[in-house]
Amino acid sequence: MQAAETRGEYDISSPSSPGARGGGMALIELNSVCFRYEDAAADALDSITLAIKKGEYVAVVGANGSGKSTLLRLLDGIRTPSGGKVYIDGFDTSNQANSLDVRRRVALVFQSPADEIVSSIVEEDVAFGPENLGLPRPEIVQRVRDSLRAVGLENEARRTSLFLSGGQQQRLAVAGALAMQPECIAFDEATAMLDPPSRTAVLNLIDTLVENKITVIHVTHNMDEAARAERIIALDRGRIAFDGKPDVFFKGSAARALGLDLPDGFAAAGILGLEPVLREDAAGLAARAAARRNGGRERRSADAGEHSSGTAESGNAGVPAFILENVSYTYLKNSPGEFAALNSISFSLPRGKRLAVIGRTGSGKSTLLKLLNAVSFPDEGRVISFGISTKEASSTEIGGLRLRAPLCIQRPESALFETYAGDDAAYGPRNMGLSGRSLVERVKAAMDAVGLPYAQYRERLTRGLSGGEKRRLALAGVLALKPEALILDEPTSALDPLTRAAVDTLIILNKPEDETVVYATHSMDEAAMADSIAVIKDGKLAAFGSPRMIFYSDFDTDWGVGRPYAAELAVELKKQGIDIGEPLNMAEFQTCYKKALQSGYRPEELP
């Protein structure tokens, strides 16, 4: 590991007097810190020693269950270590008398903003922290105003926080942290549930904080986000596996050894034969690639058509899995807060196809999935599921349709309820009437398929499973139904790269040929795996077509969805006069680039 090489950069010294640190000194110090949850068999954190200087920008990465969130809670004094010491600006967090001094220096922003909103009015929520500090009202007013302006919510000050979008709620959470005027803000996967524009807004906010010399600690599963930091701490089963510079982490073997991705730009630079550069976007990489080619020499374009894939419109005759005819749906009808979630949506999806549903948070994606699952019914229009109109179906038919096309909700692990993992996976098949040997066989097959071997996991306590294992178990519970269609709402959100890849492979890439899959996602790489993509914008179907149509010919920045990195880079290369075709993922990008090389493009010929 690289840790030994780089650890020396961050010297641990015994803390000086509390609150007396100057610039450049360690704001946060952990000395041999251990932490174990009650009833847990192993330490969540084990012998953690590190120091973080004032103004540093640190990313914390690692698999689900590696101890990242626990580490943040120790920094804020919400948890105190079972062994060792945590010092914040010299204050020992184990001493209760220091708790306010600690928390006014380190503010936390959690993954789900809705969980941390205290007040029902935006400006009052921001004021909650300063009120707790006992500040005089004029100062609170000033801090609230400044914080809301910093996150761009100054015009929403009197709005009901419940009615803000997910991205706005996360910015509100940041405003609440800013109002404390902390020296450090720690983000706990704060971008995991956000759509691309909201994610960009939060990342820009982080950049502003760093410019203003505020220490930022960013826990993330996204390696592009991690690469923005000036230092990476990687955790593995509660221990520090790496602590050093991002370029060392990604260029060496550390990231791969931990099962983590490389930033998109790193893989692409390798294919283009260029040195990877941290924090370089697709436009920058394309410009470097263009700068290296033969000046002014035109080249033939690679044949993009060779890479086109099957779409929902092509192939597969017979009764479609789903048909939507002018479907509209309104939430809270005749109530305050009423809003039209879907407006006149129409499309048809053949059986056996994969459909990705993309769009901004609150655009209507989840509502669409609920209509397909027949747990909601359109106010106007018709949803025809496997030849049955859900609106006119009997209750028995609806029960049958829900089993034929089950819905896996967002964070499906929250709905696990049986004591033992095996029983939870068996819940659905039991409701179908299976018992005895056939039930065991069905459950075994499903659990084995998701990577939770039946023999090993059937009697494991559900509550004792890790986050990734719970997600897999929830999927096993649905797969055990042997459904004709799978409907999944953000199936890989908040999962680490390794688990995310495993879930994608299982339910999207390696699905049975005759199984239809519909999934909502904020990951454009995941969307590109589908046969078709539906883009929802403000409740309307903005576009429907193959991934190449959506990400190339018909792409519109107004959708607020972005492109997969491979497509983004290909578009930027084309702007530079290098047309390699229309790849959707890095494997295709590599193939396209090779073809471009064969057709005359010579990257080594410098202008």
């Binding site: 009015i121 909650f128 707790n132 009202r137 005749n334 305050p336 709905a415 649905v478 139904l481």
Partner: protein, 276 residues
């Protein structure tokens, strides 16, 4: 088939932002009206005494832009409990009940006195639900908290326990829609795995059985949400002591009149309740 939209029937605990004379009242005045409407609804021994608080609450809601249908919708989730209460009342009769018999089906019989008792209980519950729904729709969490703090200020030495109590009251209301949201998510997940929510037509026992597995995950999620909220409050230096206030309640120029009317309404409603 009905949509699974539990949130639609939740009017308690959802602050609906707005601007009307009622919204602008000081928290203390809102609490006074909460009591003025609730006391007759609780104390009235006869049906006519229950009508006035309900009509007044619905009218006040309409004046604040809240439709009567919205405030009454919270009754829908309570309907099974009303049915259960009625069944128990008919099963366990009053001693020496000599009122006329309404019906008799096997071991279950209903008399006029029992019928009236059920009607009173249902009406009283609806009154209280609508009144609390109105109060929480026009009163933000800060107002709920500050109103209690102000009311107990004379008996509180440093304000610590009063603020804790006030915050518990405010957050309790807030948790009603949160639990409704969690319940909806879990019902969706289990429906997809064959639980018979909304599909077990005509089989009451199956309907009840379908809801039993919800208890564990909903409780766990509610506790998790409570823990997350507590962590978020801790992280923002909440101790309950030494807090200052951001919000200043200016109230309206008719604040005194509104308070006087609350006392007058309560007196008149009680008089009607006991005299009619």
């Amino acid at each position: 088939m009905k949509n699974m939209e539990f949130f639609r029937n939740v009017s308690i605990g959802r602050y609906i932002g707005g601007d009307s004379a009622i919204y602008r009242l000081k928290p203390g005045t809102k609490y006074l009206w909460l009591l003025a409407l609730s006391i007759p609804a609780i104390a009235s021994p006869r049906l006519p005494g229950l009508v006035l608080p309900l009509v007044c609450a619905l009218a006040a809601g309409a004046a604040s832009g809240l439709k009567p249908r919205f405030l009454l919708r919270c009754v829908v989730p309570a309907l099974p409990f009303f049915a259960l209460a009625a069944l128990l009342q008919f099963l366990f009769s009053f001693p020496n009940d000599s009122s006329p018999l309404l019906f008799k089906i096997g071991p279950i019989s209903g008399t006029v006195r029992e019928g009236l008792a059920i009607l009173m209980a249902v009406f009283r519950t609806i009154d209280l639900m609508v009144i609390i729904g109105l109060f929480t729709s026009v009163t933000s969490e800060s107002e709920i908290t500050h109103g209690i703090e102000d009311a107990f200020a004379p008996v509180s030495r440093n304000g610590g326990w009063v603020h804790d109590f006030a915050l518990v009251v405010g957050l309790s209301f807030r948790f009603i829609p949160i639990i409704a949201g969690e319940l909806e998510a879990i019902v969706l997940a289990q429906s997809s795995r064959g639980a018979s929510f909304g599909t077990a037509k005509g089989r009451p026992l199956a309907k009840v059985r379908a809801y039993l597995p919800l208890f564990v995950p909903v409780t766990v999620r509610a506790l998790e949400r409570a823990e997350l909220l507590a962590e978020a409050m801790d992280a923002r230096c909440y101790t309950g002591n030494g807090r200052t206030r951001y919000v200043v309640y200016e109230g309206t120029k008719h604040e005194g009149l509104a308070k006087g009317l609350a006392f007058a309404f309560c007196g008149i409603a009680l008089a009607i309740a006991f005299m009619l």
